[in-house]
């Protein structure tokens, strides 16, 4: 019986670790992130690595109703958008929306954290100060598609 518990524990750990974001760290790529067009604003979306609550949850993140990425533990991505009203939500048991206004040249930071739900965790987006976000993101992995690695064929044709 003890072996069964041990095997289950190992499986749980493996599945949680598998949920973690992989990719280049923010600290490694921040100097390569392209500058923002003056007519647009930028929204970073990130999630800390905490595995205590909802570690296996990977909710889809929506911006004004359109899918812009997936929120993985320890991951971040960003999108550039024309200025205007923004609504961020993530697909979990209960949907909590974050609304804000994006001005030209603005860089906003959305932290997704997992709160306790009735049956599973629920993703809650919150707007955070730049200083807090930059510190949080330092060790997080890039999970977006805006940056193309310099070794890829797509980058070589640029």
């Amino acid at each position: 019986m003890r072996n069964v518990y041990r095997a289950l524990s190992v499986l749980c750990v493996i599945s949680l670790l598998g949920a973690c974001a992989t990719g280049p760290k923010y600290s490694e790529i921040k100097s390569g992130i392209p500058g923002l067009k003056p007519t647009e604003g930028r929204i970073f979306v990130y999630r800390n690595t905490s595995m205590l609550v909802g570690g296996a949850l990977q909710p889809v993140v929506f911006l004004n109703g359109l899918k812009v990425g997936v929120s993985s533990p320890g991951g971040f991505f960003f999108v550039d958008r024309a200025p205007g009203p923004m609504e961020v939500s993530a697909s979990t048991e209960v949907e909590k929306r974050l609304t804000f206004d994006l001005a030209p040249g603005d860089v906003r930071y959305v932290h997704i954290y997992i709160g306790m739900g009735l049956f599973v965790g629920r993703a809650i987006p919150e707007l955070v100060d730049e200083a807090v976000a930059l510190k949080d993101m330092e060790g997080l992995s890039y999970t977006g598609s805006q940056l193309v690695p310099s070794s890829s064929p797509e980058a070589a044709t640029r």
Binding site: M86, K96, T99, M116, L127, D129
Partner: protein, 137 residues
């Protein structure tokens, strides 16, 4: 007898489940539509810093303290007061959802919040003191 006992247990269980479910459903921040009259074109808003902590509590139960020396810029007016947007500081109000908020000040008191996404005013049920030191335009 045992049937009654089972039914009672089921009712108790259902009540507990309902209670847990309801506790997860926060109340929405109450707000009403309003029109922001922006600063006149070509005129940048005056900036000001808070001189003390400003603590507020919404009817949703959400509480927050705005630190002293937080810088705001005047972005316009609504009927309830002057609308001040924080600079380098994120101010949000929270209920069932999270809303970016600008302070609405009337006579050195924080009377509520302008919600830029919703173009709405979310009043505080009790205004609180909010003092600024003006820094000019």
């Amino acid at each position: 007898m045992s049937l009654h006992l089972t039914r009672d247990r089921l009712h108790t269980f259902a009540a507990k489940v309902l209670l847990i479910a309801l506790s997860g459903c926060a109340m929405e921040v109450p707000y009403q539509p309003t029109t922001l009259i922006a600063n006149p074109a070509g005129m940048s808003g005056s900036t000001a810093r808070t001189t003390a902590l400003t603590h507020f509590r919404l009817s949703t139960g959400y509480e927050r303290t705005i630190p002293a020396m937080t810088e705001f810029v005047r972005v316009g007016e609504i009927p309830a007061g002057v609308v001040m947007r924080p600079i380098s500081y994120v101010l949000t109000v929270e209920g069932a959802n999270v809303h970016e908020a600008y302070a609405v000040v009337n006579g050195s008191r924080l009377v509520g919040f302008y919600l830029p996404f919703e173009h709405a005013f979310a009043p505080l049920s009790e205004s609180v003191p909010m003092k600024f030191s003006e820094r000019g335009e």
